[in-house]
Amino acid sequence: MNQAKCQDCRYSVLRPEDLEAAIPGMNILSSAYGSVRGQTGLCRRHDKFVTADSTCADFERKTTFGQKP
């Protein structure tokens, strides 16, 4: 059973390169590639931090190329 988690949501920013691009200055004295970040990511819908396992009512599954949402 696939749960609707943030890691599958189109609003989540979880990849390190995307996270560093979303937060200017984050790479100066920190890193999105490090262990300390754990599974933390950014929700673009609510503009707040979540983890990959978080869930919410506004979940929208990511699409793949050529697939309609």
Binding site: I28, L29, S30, S31, F49
Partner: protein
């Protein structure tokens, strides 16, 4: 604009790579683990070559920092006669950092030219530090690298792809693992507990001061107060990020933390070494003080290194800093994350809470590179334990320990330059005066308390390093 579009597209498609490396995948997708593989790998090769009687690694670990040159001809002669070895060394660093960065998802086409630039600039920094009169003008490599990096980043518009190889945290982690190879295990065991006690006292008090200043004095959002509280007391932006999901922080809260941490951390790199010198602190005391005052590992090592050089014992300052910051503060980030998740779920309103406390966070957020530091210290202590002091100083030190010190210095210089080159003040978001003042109160408490504990209460411990 293009970057934003690409980012959105990648997120929507889940295009390449693992979004959140977890489990075994973290072993090759997180820079903490790569720092361990590179640090311990270099150490294993060094030990193997040492036991075979080879001096190759000693030659490969070349840098012009200790030249004490007095004329440019002397410096140019050094480079021309060692050109092959420098080329080989560059290739080795490029392969190690390039391959690992590629596996973590960084484009090689961006990484290679960026790293080549970083390496050449590092040679220039080493050369400046290797000038016979450098100490007279306080031209310490960390300070020069930081200032040069800042000037370049804020006067010339460097292309965005340059950031690909400017991995501040990655370099500092590799450097700290390599530092473990020159860190006697007995010192970790005897001074470590003192560092934990001192760092815990300071971290808890500073965090509480910032949190209550922000919420009670200035009426700021408690989530923002928590994010800047741990940022100013535990481990800068990394700690802020670690608790961000626990307290349901908003993006603007982290922006605030980034600006405050970077601003104060840079100011302290440039100021603390000179205050230490003016107060006549020993290198060990100064390193401990900086370890309890600086928020970020990279900024702290730069300050400790500069301060140690000014006091005539860089090694003692870096060791005291590492004990205080890495062992005393960094190790406990996962616990801070759980504590804030508990506060958010039990004390704050249910609606405002983020995540349920989960003991697994302690391991997930554990800064794994510290494992490499401990392993390096244990392995080197074990391997060198059979040597007499005379043999150690005559054979082991020049052929095994010093090459490791040189590799560590290279990793640190990459880091110092990267701090400056990635700090573009125009990109930092402005911060409100209330958040600035609350954070500044915490910084002042932190610095004063750190001084009292390092230079008075535990002075005997740190002076003896």
């Amino acid at each position: 604009m293009k970057e934003k579009t690409a980012q959105t597209k990648a997120n929507e498609t889940g295009a390449e790579g693992q979004l959140v490396p977890s489990g075994w995948r973290a072993l090759y997708l997180k820079e903490d683990w790569w720092a361990i593989w590179i640090g311990l790998g270099l150490m294993a090769i060094a030990m193997l070559l040492f036991h075979q009687g080879s001096t190759f690694l000693k030659s490969l670990a070349i840098n012009p920092g200790g030249l004490k040159w007095t004329s440019l001809d002397q410096l140019l002669h050094h480079f021309s006669s060692n050109a092959t070895m420098y080329l080989l060394q560059f290739t080795c660093w490029l392969v190690l950092f390039g391959a690992s960065s590629r596996i973590m998802g960084i484009k090689l086409s961006n990484f290679i030219p960026s790293f080549a630039f970083l390496y050449l600039l590092s040679l220039v920094m080493f050369s400046v530090a290797g000038w016979a009169n450098a100490a007279k003008f306080n031209l310490e490599a960390p300070l020069v690298a930081l200032v040069v990096g800042l000037l370049l980043a804020n006067t010339i518009k460097l292309p965005a792809w340059m950031d690909s190889a400017l991995r501040v945290e990655y370099f500092i982690k590799v450097g700290i693992v390599l530092l473990g190879a020159t860190f006697p295990l007995t010192l970790v065991l005897t001074a470590g507990p003192v560092a934990i006690v001192q760092a815990t006292i300071i971290s808890v008090i500073t965090c509480v001061v910032i949190y209550f200043s922000a919420t009670r004095l200035f009426g700021l959002d408690k989530r923002l107060a928590a994010v800047i509280g741990v940022g100013g007391s535990v481990c800068g932006v990394s700690a802020s990020m670690a608790i961000a999901a626990s307290v349901n922080a908003k993006k603007e809260h982290l922006y605030t933390s980034v600006t405050l941490v970077v601003g104060w951390a840079l100011a302290m790199i440039l100021v603390l070494p000179f205050i230490s010198q003016a107060l006549g602190l020993t290198a060990g005391v100064s390193g401990a003080w900086i370890g309890s005052s600086e928020f970020a590992d990279a900024a702290g090592i730069a300050a400790a290194s500069a301060s140690g050089k000014m006091a005539g014992n860089e090694d003692a300052a870096i060791k005291a800093f590492t004990l205080m910051k890495v062992i005393g503060r960094d190790l406990w980030i996962g616990i801070w994350s759980i504590v804030w998740a508990l506060i958010a779920t039990i004390i704050w309103e249910k609606k405002a809470t983020g995540l349920r406390p989960d003991a697994g966070e302690i391991w997930r957020r554990f800064p794994k590179f510290v494992i490499g530091f401990f392993l390096a210290s244990m392995l080197m202590s074990l391997v060198t334990s059979g040597y007499t002091t005379a043999d150690f100083n005559q054979t082991v030190k020049p052929n095994l320990i010093m090459p490791m010190v040189s590799f560590r210095t290279w990793a640190f210089i990459f880091c110092y330059l990267s701090i400056g080159l990635t700090t573009r003040f125009r990109e930092l978001k402005p911060v409100g005066w209330k958040a600035f003042t609350a954070f500044t109160i915490g910084v002042l408490v932190n610095v004063v308390l750190g001084y009292l504990l390092s230079a008075h209460v535990f002075a005997a411990r740190w002076s003896g390093l």
